[in-house]
């Protein structure tokens, strides 16, 4: 029998605001014809929606005296853990939207004027001449964020699958919309799409097996069924492994990471910035909730997998990043290594991870958005003085400290935060994660993680040395130009301030993270 659900709409408000704004954005696309007006309208709408939802979520956080509310039994909760992730995702979305709207000095935006036109075709030339603009990226961003927020808050495996697709599908499209190197962009989108669809199919089959074993797909129902049948786990274990594989794909852990360097390099850099921060946060949020509210009785069966994947991810991510010559690709492999550090927190399933993982993702996400924002500002310049695409070869970054000391200094700060140097946010984040792992008895994993961090520091510092201590090659003086757009600079300075603040004065944020360290079962 179907029973009418008992919904608590107030608890859904942040997600409803975001998704509704996405729908209005589609309407704006249809009504407003002038590209400049449309762009301004979309940017305003996106910022109002994300910041409005952020305020609503913050009010919910402040007014919730206990752990939170169950918005719909067995389906959706708004506990402090969920609210913390939602606030984080909304901040990333607002910063991402600003980057989406930024342009070069010559007025060129990051997206292709017409996604359906083949690269180099007469249609594309015509679209360029008429100055068409793909402002659909803003509604796509909102839909993606709405999906991610649902992803972080749902307590049902099937709803998690739907949310997974809701946030993945817009990302596949956005990856394919780069203005320059369009062939590369479309190719990266195809790889991202195929591997993403593959992983969600694997996840779904895991859900089917869990449903077969438990006769329900809610986290709490599966947990209850596991506890009720300790001897018979024949369906639970393969189901749980397939579900985790699906999530680890999105997290970008080795051996499920192959999409991430391609997608990061191919996507328009503003999309990379948003995707790198937000996708990882959403995946980590779902992993925390699944592990700690549904699958923890299977610790003995699952911990070998988490340990192996964590170690391999840290080692492969670090080693491969060492040999990269493209800066976006280098940061992509560094993000793979960070996925390994996130997994370290799950060693032994210590409840400390409930606070450590959100804090780590916040520090990582802010530094990532900042770093990619800096990348959008460093541009190639042709002999005739026209400014071209982004200068992503590492060699082109030589002497950036002379060209723009502030921008290079910001980049250096983000790199130090990635490396986990004290007085940056990354240090506190790594410390929290490693403390959680030691609490769970995972000290061998922490040992590997510390060694991997030390090795990773090498390629971060190498880039800093390249920016500040290497002279610009004689014939390259005019080959690189530092671009300027107020939106991008605002994003860079916000992330710089946040990274320093979280590194020097982490008490407030750590208190919030520890308040967030509670999960409602959802019943």
């Amino acid at each position: 029998m179907f029973t009418a659900p008992d919904l608590s709409y107030m608890a859904f408000a942040p997600i409803i605001i975001v998704l509704l704004a996405g729908a209005i954005g589609v309407l704006v696309e249809a009504i407003v014809r002038d590209a400049a007006t449309r762009r301004a309208a979309q940017l305003t709408l996106t910022l109002v929606a994300t910041l409005g939802a952020l305020i609503v979520a913050a009010v919910q956080w402040a007014t919730t005296t206990e752990a939170g509310v169950v918005a719909q039994a067995g389906f959706f909760v708004m506990d402090k853990q969920a609210l913390a992730w939602q606030c984080m995702l909304l901040v990333f979305a607002a910063l991402g939207a600003l980057l989406f709207a930024a342009r070069t000095r010559a007025g060129e935006e990051a997206f292709t004027p017409l996604g359906s036109a083949a690269p180099g075709s007469p249609e594309e030339a015509e679209a360029l001449r008429r100055k068409l603009e793909v402002t659909e990226v803003f509604p796509l961003l909102l839909f993606a964020v709405g999906g991610m927020m649902t992803f972080a808050s749902t307590t049902d495996y099937l709803a998690l699958f739907v949310a997974l697709e809701v946030f993945s599908l817009p990302l596949y499209i956005m990856v394919a919309l780069a203005r320059r190197k369009r062939l590369l962009s479309e190719e990266g989108a195809l790889k991202y799409f195929l591997l993403g669809a593959f992983s969600s199919a694997i996840y779904l089959f895991g859900v089917a097996l869990l449903y077969g074993a438990a006769a329900t797909t809610s986290y709490a129902g599966v947990l209850g069924a596991i506890l009720a049948s300790p001897g018979d786990l024949a369906l639970f274990v393969p189901g749980a492994i397939l579900v985790l594989v699906g999530i680890l794909f999105k997290l970008g852990a080795v051996p499920f990471h192959t999409w991430s360097p391609d997608a990061y390099q191919a996507a328009p850099t503003p999309v990379t910035a948003f995707m790198a921060a937000a996708t990882k946060a959403a995946a980590a949020a779902a992993l925390v909730r699944i592990v700690f509210s549904s699958l923890y009785p299977l610790e003995w069966e699952l911990s070998w997998m988490i340990w192996t994947v964590a170690i391999v991810t840290m080692v492969v991510g670090t080693v491969v990043a060492l040999v990269q010559t493209d800066i976006k690709r280098m940061l992509a492999y560094s993000s793979v290594a960070h996925a390994g550090f996130i997994l370290v927190a799950f060693a032994g399933f210590s409840p400390e991870a409930l606070s450590a993982v959100p804090f780590y993702l916040l520090t990582y996400g802010l530094a990532t958005i900042g770093a990619f924002a800096v990348i959008t500002q460093v541009r190639e310049k042709a002999d005739d003085g026209t400014v071209g695409g982004e200068a992503t070869r590492l060699g082109q970054w030589a002497g950036l400290g002379r060209r723009d000391p502030l921008l290079a200094g910001a980049m250096a700060l983000f790199l130090l935060s990635f490396a986990g140097i004290p007085l940056t946010a990354g240090f506190i984040g790594k410390f929290q994660v490693f403390a959680a792992a030691i609490d769970g008895g995972g000290w061998p994993l922490v040992l590997v993680a510390v060694l991997a961090s030390a090795a990773a520091a090498f390629f971060y510092v190498r880039l800093i040395v390249l920016m500040f201590l290497t002279d610009v090659p004689e014939d390259q003086q005019e080959a690189v130009e530092v671009d300027y757009h107020p939106y991008t600079r605002v994003v860079v300075w916000i992330t710089v301030i946040a990274t320093v603040f979280l590194g020097v004065m982490p008490v407030w944020a750590l208190q919030a993270a520890s308040d967030a360290g509670v999960l409602l079962t959802g019943l």
Partner: protein, 99 residues
């Protein structure tokens, strides 16, 4: 007929689909492999639904179908865009992304 047989069939179909994604170099065929995996999951959901004597699993299969349809739209759009640019959809040919 014992519905557990359909679960075994679903597992086999899932394996075939996964093999198609990993082994075939044509983007369309690889994509069809993904669809086969999704439908294998559907079959498993419906079979388990029958075993448990309830309709939840069948309702879930509808959710999956809708999601799969949305995925086809996006996937084919990307594949067609790439085909227009390069006149091929082989996954081996793309060589712009390396390392």
């Amino acid at each position: 007929m014992n519905p557990i047989a359909f679960v075994y069939l679903a597992t086999v179909l899932f394996g075939i689909g996964a093999a198609a994604v990993l082994l075939r170099r044509n983007a369309i065929i690889a994509f069809m492999g993904v669809e086969l995996m999704l439908n294998a999951a559907n079959l498993a959901l419906v079979a388990f639904s029958r075993i448990h004597g309830e309709i939840d699993g069948q309702v879930m299969a509808f959710f999956v179908m809708v999601v799969a349809a949305a995925e086809v739209v996006v996937g084919l759009a990307i594949i067609i865009a790439l085909f227009r640019a390069r006149q091929t959809i082989s996954l081996d040919e793309p060589a712009e992304l390396k390392g």
